[in-house]
């Protein structure tokens, strides 16, 4: 029965169950967007309410010229790229390791997905204090042990978070996102038809050839999907920056969402924050159009 041949009444009946969800989504996602757009054209700082005035595109100019925003953009790109790259690579390795029968496979998989479930703020705090603390953290505790093993005296009190703030943020994020990448890639591995692989093996292909010629091309779309979705989630998240470094020292580890947050609730420059928001939305639209084209096959196959 073709979708196109229904009577008007039938179509109305079909649309009815959709309306509540659709209308609520439109209201809650589109109205804020329009409001952001409007605010972005005003000079508006709530500390100086009398100076509020229409400003055309001046806020955009301010945001683009702002050194802090530029630093944030650079850090956002570095951090997102680093986290996505390493978590995908690790996720691929773990997925390949998990895609075979062995004792305790279910347990290992459960252990591996758990970092993804821990509340991000809790996980960030745990890494900041319990892992990276220069006095009591495991990292330095472990380093001290090794140091002493080689005859060193005293303790190592390496302030990792201050010296390498972006790495200190990236490591916990990679820890959190590797399971996500692993799960999607593992699903890809397991969706291969065993018959085809078997046929290739019967025809004399060795396991390396099978992986390069058959498994990897099949996996490619899953890896793309993992990268695209991971990038979207990771680039938007500021839990780790907020908790571990607050963007510092200076602007060394600030990122776009955090910088917008500061503009909003520390500088109270509503106009500028909104302008930055509009820029982020435009960048996201460009990025996600590109991303959707990459992942179309998997999402389309559903339709």
């Amino acid at each position: 029965m073709s979708v196109l041949n229904h009577s008007k009444k039938e179509n109305r009946k079909r649309r009815l169950p959709l309306y509540p969800a659709l209308i609520l989504t439109i209201i809650l996602t589109q109205i804020p967007f329009v409001v952001t757009l409007i605010i972005s054209t005003f000079h508006w700082n709530i500390m100086y309410p009398k100076e509020t005035k229409f400003a055309w595109f001046e806020n955009f100019k301010t945001v683009v010229m702002d050194d802090r925003m530029r630093a944030a953009l650079k850090n956002s790109i570095t951090l997102t790229f680093g986290v996505v790259f390493f978590s995908t690579a690790l996720g691929l390795l773990l997925a390949i390791l998990l895609d075979r029968k062995f004792h305790g496979r279910g347990i290992v998989r459960t252990l591996l997905i758990t970092p993804f479930l821990i509340t991000p703020v809790a996980s960030a705090l745990m890494w900041k204090h319990i892992m990276f603390n220069p006095m009591y953290g495991i990292l330095d505790g472990f380093a001290t042990q090794i140091y002493r093993l080689f005859g060193g005296e005293g303790v190592i009190a390496w302030d990792f978070v201050s010296q390498h703030p972006l790495v200190a943020i990236a490591v916990p994020m990679i820890w959190q996102w590797t399971p996500f990448m692993m799960l999607i890639i593992l699903a890809g591995l397991q969706s291969q038809s065993p018959d085809i692989l078997e046929a290739a093996a019967v025809d004399g292909a060795n396991s390396k050839q099978i992986f390069i010629r058959m498994t990897f091309p099949h996996l490619r779309q899953y890896i793309q999907l993992a990268v695209v979705l991971g990038t979207i989630y990771i680039v938007q998240s500021m839990d780790f920056v907020f908790t571990i470094t607050q963007g510092g020292p200076g602007t060394d580890s600030t990122i776009i969402p955090y910088q917008i947050y500061l503009t909003m609730f520390r500088k109270y420059e509503y106009g500028e924050a909104a302008a930055a928001g509009v820029i982020v939305i435009i960048l996201t639209i460009i990025l996600s159009n590109f991303a959707l084209r990459l992942t179309q096959d998997l999402l389309e196959s559903e339709k």
């Binding site: 509340t119 705090l125 699903a187 078997e198 093996a201 992986f211 998997l298």
Partner: protein, 280 residues
């Protein structure tokens, strides 16, 4: 689901064992930080910061008791209200919508699906200021129900996509047979389809629960002391000084536990939810 990889058959036995050991090692390595905070959460503060750990240090559950006496209770309660309420309403809205986009598709179902997906790409930080200002205007800042409404918007697109991927697997004959019997849409949804799509609905609920429980950006900005959720409570530890590792470990575990359990329960369906139903 296929369980084994064919290529493994050609490995030697010793090779196979070492690969298994490597897998186990990496699994334990990834879990180690969690094991570690579990360990120090049952230590007294003086023993919590030592490395190598004192295995003989006295065991205590005092830190867990302290989590609740120190006032985490209200935050946890707010988290429960916001998560459960928003998840239930999301399901009530997304389930019929998913039906209209799969079993009885409307004309422009592709466009509607693309719209839902596109809202997922919108960065929440760009919506934060207007949401804050609107809530301020209507005096709903620091209101747990207002936060729940925001969470509904956050999870609706994901749930529509995910539920749709489950509904698509149901044979259409079933619905057509029920229609011939004169069943209404409501009856088909709740009497015919709901029982068989229960696993999908439950998995979607767990995914929504995980995302709302862990949400931080909206929670910290639109709530004050009254409606703050568990992740906001944790922020108090950002600049903590002195001996607090054992307490922090216990709090982290209490806050994370509901989600860890939900995630373990939804393990098989987790990837489907995270990929918006694209990957099974």
């Amino acid at each position: 689901m296929r369980k084994s990889n064919n290529s493994i058959r050609y490995e030697s036995r010793a090779g196979s064992i070492s690969v298994t050991l490597l897998t186990w090692f990496l699994g334990l390595l990834f879990f180690f930080p969690i094991f570690w905070i579990g360990l120090i959460s049952v230590r007294q503060e003086v023993d919590a910061g030592t490395f190598p750990p004192k295995w003989t240090a006295p065991f205590t559950l005092g830190n867990y008791g302290e989590v609740f006496t120190a006032g985490a209770k209200n935050f946890l309660l707010n988290s429960v209200i916001a998560s459960l309420l928003s998840t239930i309403i999301v399901l009530m809205l997304a389930y019929p919508a998913a039906y209209a986009l799969s079993i009885k598709p409307i004309k422009k179902s592709k466009d509607v699906l693309a719209f839902f997906l596109s809202t997922k790409f919108l960065p929440p930080i760009a919506a934060l200021l207007p949401l804050y200002l609107i809530l301020q205007k209507i005096h709903l800042l620091d209101n747990i129900f207002a936060l729940a409404v925001l969470y509904i918007a956050m999870n609706l697109p994901l749930s529509v996509w995910m539920l749709r991927s489950f509904l698509k697997e149901i044979p259409k004959d079933l619905v057509e047979a029920a229609e011939l019997d004169g069943a209404s849409t409501v009856k088909i949804l709740y009497k015919v389809l709901a029982p068989i799509s229960m696993p999908g609905i439950a998995a979607t609920a767990l995914i929504c629960f995980i995302f709302t429980w862990n949400e931080f950006l909206l929670a910290i900005n639109v709530t004050g002391f009254g409606a703050a959720t568990a992740p906001v409570y944790l922020v108090g530890f950002v600049t903590a000084e002195g001996l607090f590792f054992a307490h922090l470990a216990a709090v982290s575990i209490v806050v994370s536990l509901p989600v860890v359990i939900a995630g373990w329960a939804a393990q098989d369906k987790l990837v489907r939810g995270l990929s918006l139903g694209a990957v099974k």
